[in-house]
């Protein structure tokens, strides 16, 4: 469903992606792991067209992402951003129903609100939250609202950018569980980027490790611990010693 072939991206002299090859099948939950600054977010942004790759090809459903109608393409996607990226000036329900209130998929306001409240309920938030502003919510609640917004238009593909960063372990567990449940219900294809190994084990069908701008290892999550790759081994065990250079 999603295929990246030899994707390169540099920012000035910083070569972030140096030939990324990756495939994600329909209905699969792919988790990309890797250290900070290895370009995990850049991969997602390249797929979405938020960043234009310098070279390589990205296909979704067999079509080059740079071709065809952009709105149709983006309508397939939902995304949960690292900091939730909720719109400060809009109440929660309008954040969730943003896509339903504008553009081609526009619905009547009352219906959009109803859908938003239902999606909020799905992520464990009551209707009393609907009229609050994002600044009035805790970090965990903001993540849930971001998740509700990502699933509001029932997209076929959902991206999760560090879904548990900044949350306490219990809230992180709740978010992981929600993601797993919702994805199973919707049958969506997902790509998650994270360095939280608990999330990886909770969410992933397959795991890909990005290191030095390339996919270093990829395989089913069950095989991750047995992968005889020193980089993967160091990363999942969280050791400072190993082939991955660390700053001290």
């Amino acid at each position: 469903m999603i295929r990246l072939c030899d994707v390169h991206k540099s920012f000035g002299g910083n070569h972030v992606l140096r030939g990324v090859d990756l495939g994600v099948e329909r209905g699969q939950s792919m988790v990309i792991i890797g250290g900070s600054g290895t370009g995990k977010s850049v991969v997602l942004k390249c797929i979405l067209g938020l960043i234009r790759p310098d070279a390589g090809r990205i296909e979704v459903d067999g079509r080059d992402v740079t071709q065809g109608d952009r709105d149709d393409f983006l309508a397939k996607f939902g995304m949960l951003f690292q900091g939730a990226a909720l719109f400060d000036s809009l109440p929660v329900w309008q954040n969730v129903a943003f896509r339903l209130l504008r553009g081609r998929g526009k619905r009547p306001r009352a219906e959009a609100r109803e859908i938003a409240v239902e999606k909020l309920r799905r992520v464990g938030l009551g209707p009393e939250v609907a009229d609050l502003l994002p600044a009035e919510l805790s970090g965990g609640m903001q993540k849930r609202v971001g998740l509700a917004r990502a699933i509001a238009a029932d997209p076929a593909i959902i991206f999760f950018d560090e879904p548990t960063t900044g949350l306490d372990p219990i809230m992180a567990g709740v978010i992981n569980e929600l993601i797993r449940e919702i994805v199973a219900e919707m049958g969506a294809t997902t790509v998650t980027i994270t360095h939280d190994m608990t999330s990886v084990r909770a969410i992933a069908d397959r795991v890909a490790m990005l290191h030095r701008g390339k996919i270093r290892w990829t395989g089913p999550v069950e095989e991750m611990d047995a992968a005889r790759d020193p980089y993967v081994d160091q990363f999942i065990s969280g050791r400072a010693e190993g082939p991955i250079e660390t700053l001290r």
Binding site: L48, M79, F81, A85, L86
Partner: protein
């Protein structure tokens, strides 16, 4: 010597590149005027924020400036027995120059900074990226409504500023300098010409567009972090102020060069 020339060349190239980017940004913004979808709700909110909420500061600036102008003209005019021209000079000074320029600079301080800070914060917190993933063009949703609102409401603010500025001069003229109310108003009305008012409103429109475009441009190009937001805001206000003063000179030349 060559190093100095190279540096000048680099600066000139950088300035030209920046001008090109701003021109492209302006063209992109206005190209959305004819391409749906449109966002009337965002436009309405921008009108309230740029126009309605700027009224108090514009009114205060104008009334004090008009009053001070009357005092200056009276004391300056006294050196060559021309105290009687206070109403005429206040009117022409406010309508042709001070009204549009002061309102433009006030809008740059209040609106440009707010637009730049808001959009830059949206950029660094990935809200702009979120807009794109939600099939919403940030230029259409954020930039066009603000630019359009500023272009349409700042002329109204300038008209209000002109009237209040003249009123400030009138208050000082009548209650402090001893002019009779009827004479003061008669001299004001008789002296102003339609071209004065037209130039004032055109300047207002141009300054509004420049102020909003600068805020949006610097906000959209903001780099990461709080420092990026600060730099974008400062850059936007400085650019808007300089552009407004430069445009004022050009428009004055266009309207009154004969």
């Amino acid at each position: 010597m060559i190093a100095a020339l190279a540096r000048i060349g680099r600066l000139a190239l950088a300035a030209l590149a920046a001008l090109g980017r701003i021109a492209l940004f302006t063209v992109q913004t206005f190209s959305h005027l004819v391409r749906p979808p449109f966002y009337p709700r965002e436009f309405g909110q921008a009108v309230m924020s740029v126009g309605w909420q700027s009224l108090p500061v514009v009114a205060l600036t104008a009334v004090f400036t008009g009053g001070a102008l009357a005092l200056q003209i009276y004391s300056g005019g006294a050196r060559f027995s021309a105290e009687a021209v206070v109403p005429q000079i206040v009117a022409i000074g406010m309508v042709r120059e001070l009204g549009p320029v002061l309102v433009g600079l006030m809008v740059a301080a209040r609106v440009t900074s707010s637009i730049a800070a808001e959009i830059a914060t949206m950029k660094v917190t990935e809200q702009i990226d979120a807009l794109v993933t939600l099939s919403t063009d940030p230029m259409k949703y954020l930039t066009l409504p603000r630019v359009l609102a500023a272009g349409l409401t700042v002329p109204v603010l300038v008209a209000v500023g002109d009237i209040i500025g003249i009123f400030g001069g009138y208050m000082v003229g009548v209650y402090r300098l001893g002019f009779t109310p009827v004479t003061y108003l008669q001299n004001t009305v008789d002296f102003l010409e339609p071209l004065d008012i037209i130039s004032s409103l055109v300047k207002g429109g141009a300054f509004g567009l420049l102020a909003a475009l600068a805020g949006c441009y610097f906000g959209m190009r903001s780099s990461r972090g709080a420092q990026g937001v600060g730099r974008a805001t400062k850059g936007a206000v400085v650019a808007a102020s300089v552009l407004i003063l430069a445009a004022n000179f050009v428009l004055t030349e266009v309207f009154f060069s004969a």
